[in-house]
Amino acid sequence: MGSSFLARRLATAGITILLIVVVNFILFRAMPGSPERVILRGTPNVTQERLEAARERWGLNDPVFPDQFVAFLGATATGDLGFSFVARGQTVSAVLAQRIWPTVILFGLGEVVAIVLGLALGAYSGWRRGGPVDYVGNGVSLVLYSTPYFLLGMVLLLVFATGLGWFPTFGMLTAGATYASFTDRIVDFLAHLALPLATVSLGLVGQYAIVMRSSIIETLSDDYITTARGMGLRDGRILRHHALPNAMLPTVTLIAINLGYVVAGAITVEVVFNWPGLGTLAVEALTARDYPVLQGVFLLLSVSVVLANLLADLVYGVLDPRVRT
């Protein structure tokens, strides 16, 4: 892969992350109430000296730009994101660290499942165009596309948890439960994971299937497919070796573009199922006006999306040699 291709992508990502930090800084300054109160609100026993010390430490007596900004940059880079208002004395970073893994598992697995299922479904639909699977799948995908994730979650909750009782209704683990063994714990975890995971995946599968389907249909009308048929290759080989690698390209692009939107959905899904991840954290912080935590979540999520986009870009570069030059 061309080194300039890599360098350009990295540079763009870097600038974007910088801009995110800038936005964070502006928010920090724009927050209602004086910044030092904001920083210290969570900590007990705030005396005048502590206030002054905080002002010094955070450089609030210095001019806003460049001094304060640089200090902010430095602090952010080292992970010092301030203190949470709500969780007394805890740093924002600590709070984030506690809630990050449930989100990664839910969101990560959800995307993987959706990608695998969506691509398979879409490819099959596109290959066997016009079949009953095609029409039904298309219709279902369109409806799913119009449904907010949380609504989907609520419906699944109603039907499968409340209605059929197959799954628990909230949380990641049953509250106050003791487990006989590690396996029991895993099983409980999986039972709780099932519905939120299904929600995230269903929400995404439709889109990926639709894009993959139209992508396959377009690819199949390309001349090299005719050449491959003329070569006497089997249908399966043509689909796998010739059509898919080309049809994948728009799908990868879609996955990348979608990431920002999916984050919104993931947040709300967590809320519906009370899944203790960054999403519920964001909403809790919102309700409690815990701005530092809220900003921390924004920073973390935004940077993650940027990095994921970068990854998708690189994957695209691997798949399509035409962009590498």
Binding site: T226, T227, M231, G232, L233
Partner: protein, 360 residues
């Protein structure tokens, strides 16, 4: 891959089911229809011809006359809404039309391969050249991947592409090189027949000449038989032994290039040849054929060229002209009824010439 001479080719093993003494390719009454929402298009309607070993046959005609469809029908490389409804395609005496899709697949590329216009998309943009040329070797001939890559390199050299360019992607090559690569790919399984579908149309004149030269060279070196499809008569004049002129899905005229070009019998052929600017002749306005080809969903009764033909007689709009053969030429025109010795039955009336043959 050892280069096979024409003689070696004749001695080489034919397909298992080959009929002893049968010609290389014999197409009889091939009829292919397309099903559209608006009706059935009779794209190829009763086309017959024959190809002998080592021959180069050119199929010429306007766009939409069915020449490409004819070629694609040979290996049944048709879109989903097309069907061969009648006729036989006998390769070494084996009727390919009667074969099931799966059985037919075995003959593709190994006996008949095809070179498309080397436009951007004829080669898979995400695979390297060497890989694509090696693919038929691995998939169809069960050659080991390593050996296939080696042979691919040889094939590239054969068509004039340096071996090391095999690691390039299609978009990194010029149009001429892509076309050469396609030819290399077509030769991979050492086929008996190579079909070239407008192989030089997308190229500029200089490159065109190179490609034609390459095809000629390969034909003689490898003992290939060629079917060249093009609307460009000069290409046929240069490369082919015989020519088949098609109009509106039917054969108008067929014969050796020398005979047909020197003395075109069918009025359409005459028009085609006179529409071609002659660098030596006096300057005059280009002779255009007035009107346009018929709608093949509803072709006119009788001869399909009649509406535009300056020689048209009453019988032409009623009866489909039968094919006659004389002087080594096959024509389908009422000017030469069955048993004719080559003298046309009439000359055009002054009115017909003045009207330019255009009929309402």
């Amino acid at each position: 891959m050892t280069v096979t001479t024409a003689a070696e080719r004749r001695a080489r093993a034919r397909p298992r089911l080959a009929v002893e003494g049968a010609p290389l390719l014999e197409v009889e009454n091939l009829t292919t229809h397309f099903r559209l929402d608006s009706g059935v298009v009779r794209a190829v309607d009763g086309v017959s011809f024959r190809l002998d070993e080592g021959e180069a046959l050119g199929i010429a005609g306007e766009s939409g006359c069915g020449k490409t469809t004819t070629a694609l029908s040979l290996i049944r490389l048709l879109p989903a809404n097309a069907r061969i409804v009648d006729g036989t395609v006998k390769l070494f005496g084996i009727d390919l039309v009667a074969k099931s899709d799966n059985a037919l697949r075995r003959y593709r590329w190994r006996e008949i391969s095809i070179v498309f216009q080397g436009a951007m998309n004829a080669l898979n943009p995400v695979h390297r050249l060497r890989e694509q040329i090696a693919e038929p070797l691995v998939q169809r001939l069960n050659v080991s991947p390593r050996e296939a890559r080696r042979r691919a390199g040889e094939l590239l050299e054969l068509v004039g592409i340096p071996k090391k360019r095999g690691s390039a992607y299609p978009h990194e090559l010029s149009g001429g090189m892509r076309q050469r690569a396609m030819i290399a790919m077509a030769l991979a399984c050492d086929p008996a027949i190579v079909i070239g579908d407008e192989p030089t149309t997308a190229l500029d004149v200089m490159v065109q000449a190179q490609i034609l030269e390459l095809l000629e060279d390969l034909r003689h070196k490898l003992g290939l038989s060629l079917i060249l499809i093009t609307h460009d008569l000069s290409v046929i004049a240069e490369t082919c032994d015989r020519v088949l002129i098609m109009y509106a899905g039917k054969v108008a005229e067929e014969g050796t290039v020398h005979e047909v070009f020197r003395r075109p019998r069918h009025p359409y052929t005459q028009k085609l040849l006179s529409a071609f600017p002659n660098i030596h002749a006096d300057r005059r306005t280009l002779d255009v054929i007035p009107g346009s080809p018929p709608d093949l969903r509803n072709p006119p009764p009788g001869c399909r060229f009649a509406p535009r033909c300056p020689f048209a007689m009453a019988v032409c709009t009623e009866v489909v002209p039968p094919e006659t053969t004389f002087d080594g030429v096959r024509v389908a025109c009422h000017l030469y009824p069955a048993g004719s010795d080559g003298a046309p039955v009439t000359v055009p009336t002054a009115d017909a010439i003045a009207a330019g043959g255009a009929r309402p």
